[in-house]
Amino acid sequence: MERPIRVLVAKPGLDGHDRGAKVIARALRDAGMEVIYTGLQQTPQMIVEAALQEDVDCIGLSILSGAHMTLLPKITTMLRENDGADILVVAGGIISDEDALALRNDHGIAGIFGPGSSTHAIIDFIREHVQRSSVEG
């Protein structure tokens, strides 16, 4: 039996709006994924630590505070430093096209989903891009 895709859904930074993150968590669960939901106000350290402990295939970040250019690159850098570069990172929230381009090209955020994105598009993207690396010693 194929094991389910494991996704960490987290909200970095200080904004308190987690409805979007919860909708995504629910949609991913309904698509058969195991979603580890960590809640609000997560630091990059907390997110990376949780992702590594939980051995997730993907991290979904929801950010509405405007601090995405600071926080998101920190997370991907820390992942690289901690042997977690194979984890797919996607983000959602209020992110301008210009920033989205930079995050994708320079900071290892594989997919960015702004307001109005369909949950199907997000699910398909994760399924397509996640690296189901066979576990090796």
């Binding site: 094991r3 389910p4 968590a25 629910r26 991913l28 669960r29 309904d30 698509a31 058969g32 994924m33 195991e34 979603v35 580890i36 939901y37 960590t38 809640g39 350290q45 907390m46 630590e49 949780a50 590594l52 402990q53 939980e54 051995d55 901690n82 042997d83 977690g84 576990v135 090796e136 010693g137």
Partner: protein, 315 residues
């Protein structure tokens, strides 16, 4: 196996990988478990179970913080149910466990129940072995005490903590739930709420309704806690430790372990025998027996007998 050596040396990524691997339960998992097994048998396994909303995750966090403050390493395995419809799960226990972050002496892993009763206890049992072999002093397994599968998992622990809160139905509900018998320590959480005396009284009464003989000569203590504020957490932790000492000093630990290992062994043999049996049964005969049962020409007991006899004669 390199992954095992790395995990034992403190590499958290390797540890996380190993758990993913044993959870999958394939041939690779068996290689890993074989390499791990000699290092198991040292951790104190603590099961924590109770109805949803009783504050289990917060209590587990506080217990872990307490044991960490005493210099003991702690791993938490938080089990949540898988949706029977989509096969997915939302695992939210970490939300309450944030204060355990940033500490290399603490490891938290969320686990989804993924289907069957037998499958869940195998997967959690194997994940516990990984954490035990990785050298954690205490492994806490947290499950929702809502179904037989979860209760079974908690039962596999050395010390079982059952969490109750004031105002959750009458005493008969507690008997019905069937989790009273498995408790080594009762925690009445949210003890700052109204009705706590009544809940404690009911538990005491329940404990004395039985034959008067307690399992293993241990009378489960009742500890009142307020997990949010940390009130009486040290007492709850001490009760759990006293229970473990009780098991050790009366040679009960060895006995419990033997029984647990025996159950596990039999379960594995049962699974394997069934698989082998099904492999050796001709597909036509399999279909034929199934059809006969569906048409009520053959009962399941007779069909099982036929299938087993056919295979045994062939081999």
């Amino acid at each position: 196996m390199e992954l095992v050596a790395k995990a034992r040396a403190g590499n958290r990524r390797a540890l996380a990988r190993l758990i993913t691997l044993v959870e999958a339960g394939d041939a690779q998992a068996q290689t890993a478990l074989a390499a791990l097994y000699p290092y198991t048998g040292n951790a104190h396994i603590v099961g924590v179970t109770g109805a949803p909303g009783t504050g289990k995750s917060t209590l587990v966090t506080q217990l872990a913080l307490h044991w960490r403050s005493l210099g003991r390493t702690v791993a938490v395995l938080a089990v949540d149910p898988t949706s029977p419809f989509s096969g997915g799960a939302i695992l939210g226990d970490r939300i309450r466990m944030q204060s355990l972050g940033g500490d290399s002496g603490c490891y938290i892993r969320s686990m989804a129940s993924r289907g069957s009763l037998g499958g869940l206890s195998r997967a959690t049992g194997d994940a516990v072995k990984v954490l035990d072999a990785a050298g954690f002093d205490i492994v806490i397994v947290e499950t929702v005490g809502a179904g037989q599968a979860e209760v079974e998992i908690a039962r596999e622990a050395h010390s079982v903590v059952v969490v109750e809160v004031p105002g959750m139905g009458d005493d008969i509900q507690a008997i019905k739930a069937g989790i009273l018998e498995i408790a080594d320590v009762f925690v009445v959480n949210k003890a700052d709420r109204e009705g706590v005396e009544r809940t404690v009284r009911q538990l005491q009464m329940m404990l004395h309704l039985g034959s008067g003989e307690h399992r293993d000569g241990w009378e489960p203590p009742i500890v009142q806690t307020v997990s949010n504020t940390g009130k009486n957490i040290a007492e709850a932790a001490a009760a759990v430790e006293r229970h473990f000492e009780h098991l050790k000093s009366n040679n009960l630990l060895e006995l419990r372990e033997r029984e647990r290992i025996e159950r596990e062994w039999k379960m594995i043999m049962r699974e394997r025998l069934l698989r082998q049996l099904l492999q050796r049964l001709e597909p036509q005969q399999y279909e034929h027996l199934l059809n006969q049962m569906a048409e009520r020409q053959l009962d399941p007991y007779a069909a099982a007998k036929q299938a087993i006899e056919t295979v045994l004669e062939l081999s």
